[in-house]
Structure formats: C-alpha cells, structure tokens
C-alpha cells in the first residue's frame, strides 16, 4: 500500500546532520550505581545526540528513522517491526540506526516526551526510554503531570532521578530537539514515520516489515552487499 521512493534533496539534508557519530559511554560505574545525567549542557547534548544511534559504527549502511512519540503510526511500526530490524540489520552489523525527532503540530505532548528520551540518552539510556515512551503512550499523552511519569520510568531503567529531573525541567536538550525538527522540515518531510535507508532510499509511512526489508535489501544489493 505504501511505497518506497527515492528523494535526493531529502537524503542530502539528512546526511548533513552530522549527528550521531561515535559510541556512547554511559556514566555508570557499577551495577549498583545509577545512570547519571551530566550537569553540563554541552555534554548532555553530545551524549544525547550520540545515544540515539545504535549499531556498529563501521556498518556499511545507515538507516534513519524520523519519528514522533505521539504518532500512532510510529507506535504501530515500533511494535510490529523494530525488534525485527534490530535483529536483522543492527545487531548483525549491517546497519547503524539513527532516530530523529519530528513531532506533528497536533502533538504538543510529543515535545516533552522527546525531552524525556534525550535526557535519558544523556545518561546512556535512550533506547530503553524510547521503547517505554512508545509502549506507554496512552499513559503519558493524557497525564496531568507527564514529567512525573517520565521520572518514575527513568528510575525503572536505572537512571538517577535527581539529575534526570533537572535535565527534564530545564529544557536542557531543547537545541537538539529544534535541530532535529528543522532538519526534517528542511528536508521536505511532512509526516511520520519516515525512513531514509543508506542515504539513497526514502520510505514513507508505517510500511509492512516485508516492504521495509525489501527496501533495505535493495540498497544492500545495489552496493554488492549480502542480504540477511
């Protein structure tokens, strides 16, 4: 139903983001110590930026997901396909996976949710919080105090709540959120989820895993790489 389409202008903009290089080193010393969000904003931004990338830095292709925590189709894709993509392409070393935030204008609650994910990322726990936000969207999107919920869930995944709360309540990751939004907007993206595979193929919408796999494999084949 949905289809993969190429879009050079879009792909160029995304590839110029320059975000998400390197490997996150969580501030976490032993199993008993919590993951701490650093106090310095520059450090928070660097760590949050790197934390939303997963996979081997030497992987031959990159997959970029442009997403919105409050978008039901992003949630659907997360539930149906994210684990399969992880297993097929990320854990196998074929792809690095980068997550970009692009909240729909009708989703004001998505912004604090991104803050929750990025602050968790600064503590080295982006992906566990990312999963929680998609899986518990019905709880936080109507909550009187979503920040309180985010803190509670941060504690569940081992984050130091005090440093996390300071990050959340002071818009520390706002520059990263705005940079993401502007990049997606400049790239001409109008809806989520949206994917860019290997900087050469764009996929619009919550496509089936079959279609997603076909698009990724076509990029691998075009580069003379093996498909999983």
């Amino acid at each position: 139903m949905t289809r993969a389409t190429g879009s050079r202008g879009l792909l160029l903009s995304i590839s110029l983001l320059g975000l998400g290089c390197g490997t996150i080193r969580p501030v976490h010393l032993t199993a008993q110590e919590p993951y701490v969000v650093p106090a310095d904003q520059e450090v928070v931004l660097q760590r949050a930026d790197r934390a939303r990338v997963k996979g081997d830095s030497a992987a031959p292709i990159r997959i970029v997901e442009i997403s919105d925590f409050e978008c039901p189709y992003c949630g659907q894709f997360h539930v149906e396909s994210s684990r399969i993509i992880d297993s097929l392409y990320v854990q196998s070393g074929i792809a690095r996976y980068l997550w970009i935030s692009f909240p729909n204008s009708t989703h004001p609650r998505a912004w604090p949710a991104v803050e929750a994910a990025f602050c968790a990322g600064a503590a080295g726990r982006f992906w566990p919080m990312h999963d929680i936000l998609f899986e518990r969207v019905d709880q936080w999107k109507k909550a009187v105090d979503p920040v309180g919920l985010f803190e509670q869930w941060a504690a569940e995944i081992g984050i130091d709540v005090e440093s996390y709360g300071l990050c959340l309540r002071n818009d520390v990751t706002a520059p990263l959120q705005v940079a993401d939004y502007d990049s997606a907007l400049r790239s001409g993206i109008t809806s989520t989820p949206f994917f860019v595979v290997g900087d050469s193929v764009a996929i619009r919408g919550a496509v089936s895993m079959e279609r997603f796999r076909s698009a990724v494999d076509s990029v691998l084949i075009a580069r003379g790489l093996e498909t999983p």
């Binding site: 139903m1 949905t2 039901p72 809806s191 989820p193 919408g205």
Partner: protein, 152 residues
C-alpha cells in the same frame, strides 16, 4: 471489517490530478474515507455529489472527504470534472486498501456471486483511529448521515 477504536491502516494511493495521498499525512484532521465500486455509475455519482454538496458542513467539523475505488486516475479525473467534485478520489487498482479496511468481498447481483467493493464509509479521527463505520451503505443517504453524525 475494522471496528471503532482501531488504528486506521495507513496507505499511500495515487490521486486524481496526479500525485498521491497518504493517510498518515492527514493526522490532525478527521477523514471521511469512503469506498465505492465504480466512477460515474448511478449510485456512486449520487454518493459523490452528496459529499460534494455537504463539503462545507463537513469542513466545519474538521473533516475532509476522500473517495477510493479501483478505477484508475484518468477515470477519476473524468468523474471529478464531470460533476465538479471537490475532494480527492484515490485509485486502489489492486483493491489492497479496500481489503485492509474490509471493504472488499463477495457480492451478489442478479443471483450471481462475485467479489467487489462493499460500499462502506469510515470516519477516522484526528489521531488516525476509526471513529465510526458505515457498512452496507445506501449511496444516496450516506453523505447526509455522516454529516449529521459528525455534527451531533
């Protein structure tokens, strides 16, 4: 058939006049998505003209209308021009979207059974969830009924 509260299946289909329409692009608006059998036939024309005439009232309810049939874009263009239709008509040639919505199935005409579009209308809320389903739709009454329900 989908039921109220289900996430409406996303799709991207070619539209009259060129280009395509993707459902997930329309989050934030209510969508009246109606499946009809064939352009420029008696029932379908009445239904399309009804939605055309109630367009303003539906817009007041933050709703936009989208028609879907297996006809091609060129046929949709002619149908739109002939009746001044003021909403998009999408082409679903392999009826995959109709099937995803449960709007494709067995029908009977003159005692003969065949597969085709089951005339049905879905109101999708601003968050992409099915708000109301109209199955076994009467082409003439459906547009007014949808407007009345959305306005109540």
């Amino acid at each position: 058939m989908l039921t109220e509260g289900d996430l409406a299946p996303d799709f991207e289909l070619a539209t009259d006049g060129g280009g395509s329409t993707q459902l997930s692009d329309l989050l934030g608006k209510r969508v009246v998505l109606y499946f009809y059998p064939k352009d420029d036939t008696s029932g379908c024309t009445k239904q399309a003209c009804g939605f055309r005439d109630y367009q303003a009232g539906l817009a007041e309810q933050n709703a936009i209308v989208i028609g879907v049939s297996p006809d091609g874009v060129a046929s949709h263009d002619r149908f739109r021009d002939k009746y001044d239709l003021n909403f998009p008509l999408l082409s679903d040639p392999d009826h995959a979207v109709a099937e995803a919505y449960g709007a494709w199935g067995k029908k009977k005409m003159y005692g003969r059974e065949y597969e085709g579009i089951l005339r049905s209308t879905f109101v999708i809320d601003a968050e992409g969830r099915i708000e109301k389903v109209y199955s076994k739709v009467k082409a003439v009454d459906n547009p007014r009924q949808v407007l009345e329900d959305l306005s109540s």
